[in-house]
Symmetry: C2
Subunit: 441 residues, 2 copies
């Protein structure tokens, strides 16, 4: 790291890009709140032993060390969280007596992983999570609620279409058990690598794990099933494997898929039986979403059902959650050249300063517009009008306001149409589309 140089994996956007990210975050938040999910914010740090607790050290945890510290509290006993699920589980365990269940919360915060940066993978990234945690047994309606929320939210975002792939851990586990496989977790982890290493790669791992050729073939066979409709899940039964857990998982997946497809374009959700999601804590429904036309670029959202994550040592609290990778979405859309827009400020109006003596008029006009909710920049320098209009253009602003002075009334110039006309700051409104952030496809 040299002074003043960019740090790989720690992206920073320009103001006009940040406006788009804020719009995405606001839209997600709005949908979460409309559905009755409330905000929490957890601290950025967790005890390192909690972070390591999942056994999955591939998260590349950043430990913290006080540079000027006396080290009485020890080094690196705290580290930055690598997701928002583990902090949620800890928060719910700590504050259980003060929460109302079912607890619906959302959380929009950065997380950190010291992984090698690449397209769509960052060391610091913003996640937008929603979870429902219950203190009583949860049925699959909760899964449908959360995945429905995910589908509804994604449809509101100004991004390319997302395809949500659903599966169910019970379905996979029951299927593996029905095949007589012993180490279910190892088989799941191998199957989860399909997108990266292909069928031959997965087959090789399974072979090394001691599966028979017939077992390997069956494990691969189910990954090939993609069900556009719940009825298509019947193809699983044609594979001739039977287990009660398989039947239960099939029922759940069919139900969740059916309910969610009613709330979304029919092609948005599919049953995709190769989806395992690597995280160990999922116990039922799992989902991941990819950009439909760029499905090689990795998941932009994910989620699933967990029965044993929260609650501490005592009674476990079941839950289901979703997570939208906002920084990854931003990175992919910028990479694809999809997010371009002209405004570099939230303001809509540039209020001209006639000359030094007219500061009062400029301030009064700006105040009148702001009181009516119209954001504006008040010019701070009494330069030639052409230069002030040019300043407005460079900010991507559409309107230039000339405050009243003496007998001259207020006037407003629309830079797009070129028209300039009298206007009253107590009643004038910008065009509706001027307030929208423009996305270029």
């Amino acid at each position: 790291v040299k002074r003043g140089e960019g740090l790989s994996g720690f992206p920073e956007w320009l103001p006009e890009q940040e406006l788009v990210e804020r719009h995405i975050l606001d839209t997600i938040r709005r949908q979460f709140e409309l559905h009755g999910f409330g905000p929490i914010r957890t601290r950025s740090v967790e005890a390192v032993e909690d972070l390591m607790g999942g056994g999955d050290t591939s998260k590349e945890i950043y430990g913290l060390r006080r540079l000027a510290g006396d080290d009485a509290e020890g080094e690196s006993r705290i580290g930055l969280h690598f997701d928002l699920t583990l902090p949620l589980a800890r928060y719910v365990t700590e504050k259980r007596g003060s929460l109302v269940f079912p607890f619906r919360r959302y959380q929009i915060q950065p997380a950190w992983r010291g992984e090698r940066p690449q397209l769509g993978r960052y060391r610091e990234f913003v996640q937008a999570d929603a979870d429902l945690i219950s203190d009583a047994p949860l049925d699959h309606h909760a899964d449908a609620e959360l995945i429905g929320l995910l589908a509804t939210t994604l449809q509101q975002l100004p991004i390319p279409p997302v395809k949500l792939r659903l599966n169910n851990r019970k379905l996979l586990e029951g299927y593996y058990r029905g095949l007589g496989i012993g180490d279910i977790a190892a088989t799941l982890r191998a199957a989860d690598k399909l997108d990266k290493i292909g069928e031959s790669g997965v087959g090789k791992i399974l072979d090394e794990q001691g599966l028979t050729g017939a077992q390997v073939e069956k494990v691969l066979a189910i990954t090939r099933i993609e069900a556009a409709r719940p009825a298509n899940l019947a193809r699983v039964k044609e594979l001739g494997v039977e287990h009660p857990m398989l039947s239960e998982g099939l029922d759940e997946l069919g139900h969740v898929l059916g309910v969610c497809q009613e709330q979304a374009p029919p092609e948005m959700l599919v049953g995709a039986l190769h989806i395992a999601r690597g995280l160990d804590y999922y116990t039922g429904t799992v989902v991941e979403g990819v950009l439909r036309d760029h499905d090689d670029m990795g998941a932009v959202c994910s989620g699933g059902r967990y029965d044993d994550l929260a609650g501490g040592g005592k009674q476990k609290l079941p839950g289901v959650g979703i997570s939208i990778g906002v920084t990854r979405i931003m990175g992919l859309c910028l990479h694809l050249g999809l997010l371009k827009q002209e405004r570099r400020t939230p303001a809509l109006v540039y209020v001209v300063l006639h000359d030094e003596e007219a500061r009062g008029e400029t301030q009064a006009a700006a105040r009148a517009l702001r009181e009516r909710g119209i954001p504006c920049v008040a010019s701070s320098a009494a330069r030639a009008y052409g230069k002030q209009i040019r300043a407005a253009e460079r900010l991507g602003l559409r309107y230039v306001w000339f405050p009243a002075r003496g007998d001259e009334p207020h006037q407003v110039k629309d830079i797009v149409s070129g028209e300039q006309q009298e206007a009253d700051p107590a009643s004038w409104r910008p065009a509706d589309e001027a307030a929208e952030l423009r996305f270029v496809e």
Copy 2:
């Protein structure tokens, strides 16, 4: 740090408290945007040598270390930022060619300092900053713009009254020079300790620094001046010290105080000549705000003018900024028992589930309300109506919605009034005050 235990200095709020924090953050952001300040978000980390660059190591920087890293990139070469000003300066330096000047930006993010936690002082805390940075010389109108923005924003917040104390570094420096003092910075640092160690403590330090008794008395004399109006600053002249920089500082302070007092209650802003602000980078106007009736609890906001912070090695870019300590405000208000409110969710309406067969009706009613912008929780369990109403009450919700079924029309119960009546999900609206967050004084 034990698993599952709170970490001192890393506060976390309950959902009902977080709703208040979100309201505070939204209000700040709204005011910043109305004034034409645009959002940016900088990475949480900076090069340690940049963080240390100010020479002020008292910030207790947290260095980062990849626990599973190969250390090829070295340990602790990056650390968490301790404020949002240094990151802004670095961001502007890096992206200067892509920004439009004057650059008005706001930034609402956490920062970290490994200090000893106490009331109002945290190791992780959220700051809300607004700054204006120019690529041309900046006059005091910019100072008035930012401090006016601070005063306007604070008036919108649901917190006790804040008193803003203004001063000017040129005024102090000119005064010290006029007294013949050599080490201006040392004198400033000593004077800045007045609130903590009193006049005798400051006097002792100045004495040790070699100031004469007459100089010490004059340095203390100016700290006693508090000017409720710009005209009262004339008391400085009665101290009989003269220096061109003193006159310039007095003029600036008088101007900024006068302009800002027009936008705020007259008692909100005062000239307070004991305010120095410890940070070295301020070069003119400085401001700090305290809760008017609790001024012993430390500053809840601060700001000032800097001429040499941004721009890198080449031409320096002058700027002026303000910073609101949101976590400190939350901590003080919770400590004072001021922030209590009943809603534990952003939702306003609880939609009942009649029975398992009626899930469609519940979903449809909830969807109709949400499409009209009314947030609601859809009940997930078909329990007795009394239990569902009790669930709404525990969430602090005011309305319980009974979806239409068969010949029965929709009905809504107002828990506050106890009334229950027919309602149409396509036109019903909650009372305006139901959407407000309630603050108890």
